[in-house]
Amino acid sequence: MTHDATIDWIKPTPAGLYVAPGDFYIDPTRAVDRAVITHGHSDHARPGHRKILATRETLAIMEARYGADLLSERQALAYGELMTVNGVSVRLAPAGHILGSAQVVLEYGGRRVVVSGDYKRRPDATCASFEPQPCDVFVTEATFGLPVFRHPPDGEEIGKLLHSLKLFPERSHLVGVYPLGKCQRVIMLLRAAGYDAPIYLHGGVVSLYDLYRSHGVALGDLRLVANAAKADLAGAVVLAPPSALADRWSRRLVDPVTAMASGWMRVKQRAKQQGVELPLVISDHADWDELTATIAEVDAPNVWVTHGREEALVHLCKQQGRDARALAVVGFEEEGS
């Protein structure tokens, strides 16, 4: 494995990471001719490209989200399946972020570059687990790239929610969740902890659950808040997009305990500032330990950091003798992480 002086066939451009010999972009932030999409979150999977390549699940998510707006010519690639685009070999490996999320493993001129997209390392019942790919260049996110971010075990966090339900059995427990990924993961964590009561959903998180079910994720008894009587919502778990927590919508709930499932909840001041009463540190992104362990595992001499708190991660990589730099890719959001 060698340093990246010789690797100039992949580079950041204003539209996103561009693979020159293959003439395609990865997660481009503007409409392009050919795109490889790592996962279905809207800041990575934008509509308007002429051709897209992604996992079958990611394509299904994009179809569900964009409907008739998704005019792109679609090609599905299963995890591990190999294809060649103008001499660049392309393979997708599970990233463990959300259903269908993939790392893009590229090989060209004897060098391997892995664009990991967003990823996490801990098990998630709603998607395949991250598989480390040794490489020359590892392109990583750094959403939680500071050593203060260490996500506790999921079970502990769900335990907090269950404890609160016991303590306040007459209050609705409103949990802010990103609609794609986090929502379904929180449901599965509740089910795994033995919680089999109906879970109530805000209309904004409901659209994808048929899709998850059809991909074999058994979410149990889910109901719409809109159809529920107020009495049913006392002591119930209610999932809603973060934007709905403070919305007038929440007035139909019974004296709600406001919870939020996000890696940002690790910092108490930050949670308090958002008016969260019950912060749940549940993230779909790698924490500091996962980021550093992954870099050690793939043992890439070159680490490129796309977005987040790049500075600390670059500092650490350099101390380990890796050639590290921040790509400053714009356009990726951090809400609901």
Partner: protein, 534 residues
């Protein structure tokens, strides 16, 4: 430590008082002695550790983690206790199956530790705790929990936990020490009521009901005695050989802030009075002058000389061992005057009597209230001549007849969401008054105060709609609104303040009327508000 950490963690996120009470009761009920007793001591500011300062925490952390990573993290988090607790690199596995330290271990070990061993002990405990545990530990040892629980609230929770009146806790409190095992045993009906030397204890004070003027018609003036309601700090003085205590209304000993008063406590009595300060011009200072002295653990010579404190006496509860509380007010007053007449000069310079106001009819008294009220009084007290001294706020024997609230027309500037039931409503408001622009520039609004209550649910719903449709800017949970809505605020008094941009601070501001009709330009100016300063 883990339970304690979980308690602090829940408290910090709970805006509602009832929720906090419930969390505290749950903790007392599920945590064994002596851990819960030390936790109670921490919540009531009863713990102190000499060697643990924030410098020590920082030193410890920087010795363990890369300084660049620490600075980047501190910069992002913004709080030392939290950064330290989050970044501490706890070992993956602990030798010899060490478990998390107990609150009691921490407190007892640290109280007898030297500075050198304190650092080592802390590092060991940090290793054995998770982040929230470390955060709670740092809070426990640095003396200020800052989790939104007052000592008062902790005692209330304790009273509810034991199903007794909080006054009983107050009576026992100052005779007890952490970890309060005997107290918990009694509250759980496993042991007798703790025996403390109650003669040195705070006695819950007798308080007055607000007077509705219409009530006067049914009251006979000759049954009552009147005196001014002085605007200072209500205190209870307990003095006997070897004992000198100065308690605030909530039963906190504030003697340390008023050494000159303590020096004068050379007598044997329990007295009730108002703590006041005198200004350089000989006038009695305002509540604001007095505040300079509060919340200080030690007081400078300059403060004592610039604002000499004294107590204006209302009542006598004990003289020597004799309990006078079951005598009628008129008789207690006679005993108070007799005591004061004989007590001697050194005491009298620090204690005077609150004069009784003579009156024959309610109209006559009303006239005096309007014409003669001193600036340092906030109204009148009416006490039945036959009233016994009883704890709490009984209806009938004592009334407070406060001066009219003052009001000011302000303009709504910012709104913030409330908590709990109000979490979807913009219910916390910031109001401003106009400051004249220099040289023909337009007048500017400057914030003068915040208010959270004084409106009905219907008005709140309307205010909420108004805020949502007149927002010009959002800063996190705060919305800036168009300066169009006039709200009349009521307040008790106004003071100079360096903490506010306007240079003024309102005491007890509340919404009095919402002036949907009034143009914002007609709201009051800062100058108009300044004229209310005493």
């Amino acid at each position: 430590m883990i339970r304690f950490a979980r308690l602090l963690d829940s408290l910090i996120y709970s805006p509602s008082r009832n929720t906090k009470l419930r969390l505290l009761k749950d903790y007392f009920a599920t945590t064994p002695d002596p851990a819960r007793g030390y936790a109670l001591a921490a919540l009531t500011d009863g713990l102190e550790f000499r060697y643990v300062k924030s410098g020590l925490i920082r030193e410890l952390v920087v010795g363990k983690v890369d300084p660049v990573l620490f600075e980047l993290s501190y910069d992002f988090v913004g709080d030392l206790a939290e950064t330290a607790s989050l970044i501490w690199p706890a070992p993956a596995e602990l030798p010899n199956n060490q478990s998390a330290p107990d609150v009691a271990d921490v407190v007892e070990t640290l109280q007898s530790a030297s500075r050198g061993t304190a650092a080592k002990l802390l590092a060991g405990w940090f290793d054995r705790l998770d982040a929230t545990g470390r955060w709670a530990l740092i809070k426990l040892i640095s003396g200020a929990l800052r989790v939104g629980v007052s000592a008062r609230l902790a005692k209330l929770a304790l009273a509810e936990f034991g199903n007794i009146d909080v006054a009983t806790i107050d009576e026992l409190w100052h005779g007890l020490t952490p970890p309060y095992a005997a107290l918990f045993a009694w509250l759980e009906q496993r042991g007798p009521r703790p025996v403390v030397d109650e003669s040195v204890n705070f006695r819950p004070m007798m308080l007055a009901m607000p007077l509705e003027e219409t009530e006067l018609a049914g009251l006979n003036p000759s049954d009552f005695r009147a005196e001014w309601k002085w605007d200072g700090i209500r205190v209870q003085i307990i003095a006997k050989p070897g004992i000198r205590r100065l308690y605030s209304r909530t039963g906190d000993d504030i003697a340390a802030a008023f050494p000159n008063i303590v020096d004068a406590l050379a007598f044997d009595a329990v007295l009730d009075g108002e703590l006041l300060v005198r200004r350089a011009d000989g006038e009695i200072g305002t509540f604001n002058d007095l505040q300079q002295r509060l919340n200080r653990k030690a007081v400078t010579v300059a403060l004592s000389t610039d604002y000499p404190a004294f107590v204006r006496l209302y009542d006598i509860l004990f003289h020597g061992r004799e309990d006078l509380r079951s005598l009628p007010f008129s008789e207690r007053r006679r005993r108070l005057e007799a005591w004061h007449g004989n007590v001697g000069a050194p005491v009298v310079t620090r204690f005077d009597l609150s004069p009784l106001i003579h009156f024959a009819s309610w109209d006559g008294l009303r006239k005096r209230r309007i014409e003669d009220m001193p600036r340092s009084a906030e109204g009148l007290m009416l006490k039945r001549a036959d009233s016994l001294y009883v704890a709490g706020r009984p209806k009938g024997p004592w009334f407070k007849w406060k001066r009219e609230a003052r009001t000011v027309d302000t303009v709504l500037m910012y709104a913030q969401r409330g908590h709990g039931k109000r979490s979807s409503f913009y219910s916390d408001f910031t109001f401003g008054c106009w400051r004249a622009g220099a040289d023909g520039e337009a007048p500017q609004l400057v914030p003068v105060g915040k208010a959270y209550f004084g409106f009905t649910d219907e008005e709140l719903a309307r205010l909420d709609r108004w805020v949502r449709s007149h927002t010009v800017n959002s800063f996190g949970p705060v919305r800036e609104v168009e300066p169009h809505l006039v709200v009349e605020l009521a307040f008790d008094s106004v003071h100079r303040s360096t903490r506010h941009k306007s240079g003024l601070a309102l005491r007890f501001p509340r919404v009095y009327r919402i002036r949907w009709d009034k143009p914002a330009a007609e709201a009051d100016t800062l100058d108009a508000l300044t004229r209310h300063i005493e």
